[in-house]
Subunit: 346 residues, 2 copies
């Protein structure tokens, strides 16, 4: 492969993340989607044929069952691995850790997601922070939705010299929309039993210097997570200084409650109105008019689309591992343009 | 009235708070419920007759309509005011402020609730903090559910010499259960547009020394509020010291997620199992096993039954205004015993 050939990408697992990664890869000029691997036999894989994406089976046993269910199967994972440069693993939690051995044995670069532990790849990825250290590596882990949002926002404050320590309360959506018929909580709130919750330490897997503590609670809705933060600044600051710090990140988009974006459902509706695939909100959507600075203390809230926020970072991770882009800035700029990522929605 | 005659209590407004106050007053040996005033003409007032509580109408016009709907009306508010020592106003927000003029003109002591502003009475009440300053006053305001919980918990830390400053995120239930058919939010989260939210300053109306900032968000459930707190302590402390501080308040009950009380619905079910009227949780239910101390920082979460938490304080406010009890301790002990208030549910 020369620098100018498109990188050949395989996606293993066509679920909530996998299908969004597929759409995003198709939008990149420097990548080619070689195929998608799955094991399902129902409606979830039907859109692949319409999109002209080759479907592979995880094993020959799965291939037989899937063919029996009427799907055209191009081959197995093993065969696909011979034709690609990098695998994006989007299988359910803990399965990717087993797959990692297969990718390694086949000498393929790979990306896992935030359900896996840092140790699975030894490197944790958020484009704005750890692109450079991922360059040329065999593998990285794109951290979870909540962790991605934490690293983006706290890094913005840190780069402005404003961050001392951050304490956050995370309201986690109960379940994903597509599987909410399988059961989620109803008319209650379920605190995560451990304080601090795991997202703080996970953010430190990307940047060990972050002084961050999180608490989390599951809430009965399916749309997105919502974060509330109390941050101690290094000094007294103005609201405008803080907003400028957030504006310096291209993946934090300011929104305004006063503009009618008063709740998470209205933000999702706007993403649909903008014609984004799956109504994806790739940005951290941070309420500009709610944000408050009192002396050296900062308070704010933002929304995290748990199904979409890691998609741009996954695209950047592909470029980092395969050398498609020399700098984080180059990769981020390409990804932002192809996905229509915005600095603000107001 | 001598010190030994029961205090005669009128309740104006038989809604979510009024009906609970009525039941609580009936359980007090030193009080007599003279009557309840309302304007409704439907099912909501039917339980009064079964309980043997006299029903009054807010005006003669209302009396006529209510009689037309089949209710036995003992008279009007004006008539009832001539027979009581104190009125507990439980009418909807802002109506109590107008009623206050009527109570004053009739020389009756009165209590309003947290929907009204501090200025309506010039005094804000939480039994453990402002009983003494309410003694003998003409009127006081029992603060809102959230504010009551904040004052109880932060006062406990303050009295142990541990409180420096507290920052909280409040998850507010969308609507009360009895009126959830009238519409509440569904499958979304609605941030309160102002940060800080009003509960912090409201807690300062009881104790101006509290360094407290709150943020609030409405969540799609009807059971209770849930608070998450990050507190900076005056010094490093142990978890046991902090728990002892909370245990020193008789109106904070420790619960354990590990005991199966892992969410707010299970706590409400326990209140029902204990046979409490309306499944009332009068205490702040604070998760002992989730609570975490890290150096001089404290993190914890608790549940607030917005319909019930102010009931014991309202009973104590009656005693404070009318001189029924000489000390906060005496009143609180009586109220706790009659309502079955507990130090822990584990």
């Amino acid at each position: 492969m020369t620098q100018h050939d498109p990188v050949r990408v395989a996606i293993n697992g066509y679920g909530v993340i996998g299908k969004r990664v597929a759409t995003a890869v198709l939008a990149q000029k420097d990548m080619r989607l070689a195929g998608v691997v799955d094991i399902a036999t129902d409606w979830r894989l039907r859109p692949l044929e319409e999109q002209g994406i080759d479907l592979y089976a995880a094993s020959s046993e799965h291939a037989q069952t899937m063919r029996g269910a009427g799907f055209t199967i191009a081959g197995t994972l093993d065969a696909l691995l011979g034709q690609v440069d990098v695998v994006v693993d989007c299988t359910p939690k803990r399965i990717a850790a087993q797959n990692a051995e297969i990718y390694r044995a086949n000498g393929r670069k790979f990306i896992v997601h935030g359900g896996e532990k840092h140790d699975v790849t030894g490197h944790s990825f958020v484009a704005e922070v750890s692109f450079d250290s991922a360059a040329g590596r065999a593998a990285t882990r794109v951290v979870s939705c909540n962790t991605t949002s934490i690293v983006r926002t706290l890094t913005a404050l840190k780069r402005a010299g404003l961050l001392k320590r951050a304490r956050g309360t995370l309201l986690r959506r109960a379940t994903d929309p597509w599987e909410s018929h399988l059961g989620g909580i109803m008319n209650t709130l379920v605190p995560e039993p451990d304080i601090p919750s795991h997202q703080g330490p996970d953010a430190q897997s990307v940047d060990p210097q972050l002084d961050v503590v999180t608490m989390a609670v599951k809430v009965p809705q399916t749309l997105a997570h919502l974060h509330y933060w109390s941050v101690l600044l290094t000094r007294n600051a103005s609201k405008e200084e803080v907003l400028d710090a957030f504006r310096a990140s291209s993946r934090i988009a300011l929104i305004r409650a006063g503009d009618g974006l008063a709740a998470i459902n209205t933000v999702k509706e706007l993403m649909a109105d903008l014609g984004r695939p799956h109504d994806n909100l790739y940005e951290v959507a941070l309420w500009e008019d709610m944000l408050k600075v009192e002396g050296d203390e900062l308070f704010y809230a933002y929304m995290v689309d748990n199904q979409a926020i890691v998609i741009p970072d996954t695209i950047d991770a592909i470029r980092a591992l395969t050398g498609l882009a020399r700098t984080a800035e180059d990769s981020i700029a390409q990804t932002n343009e192809t996905l229509g990522i915005r600095a603000a929605f107001c």
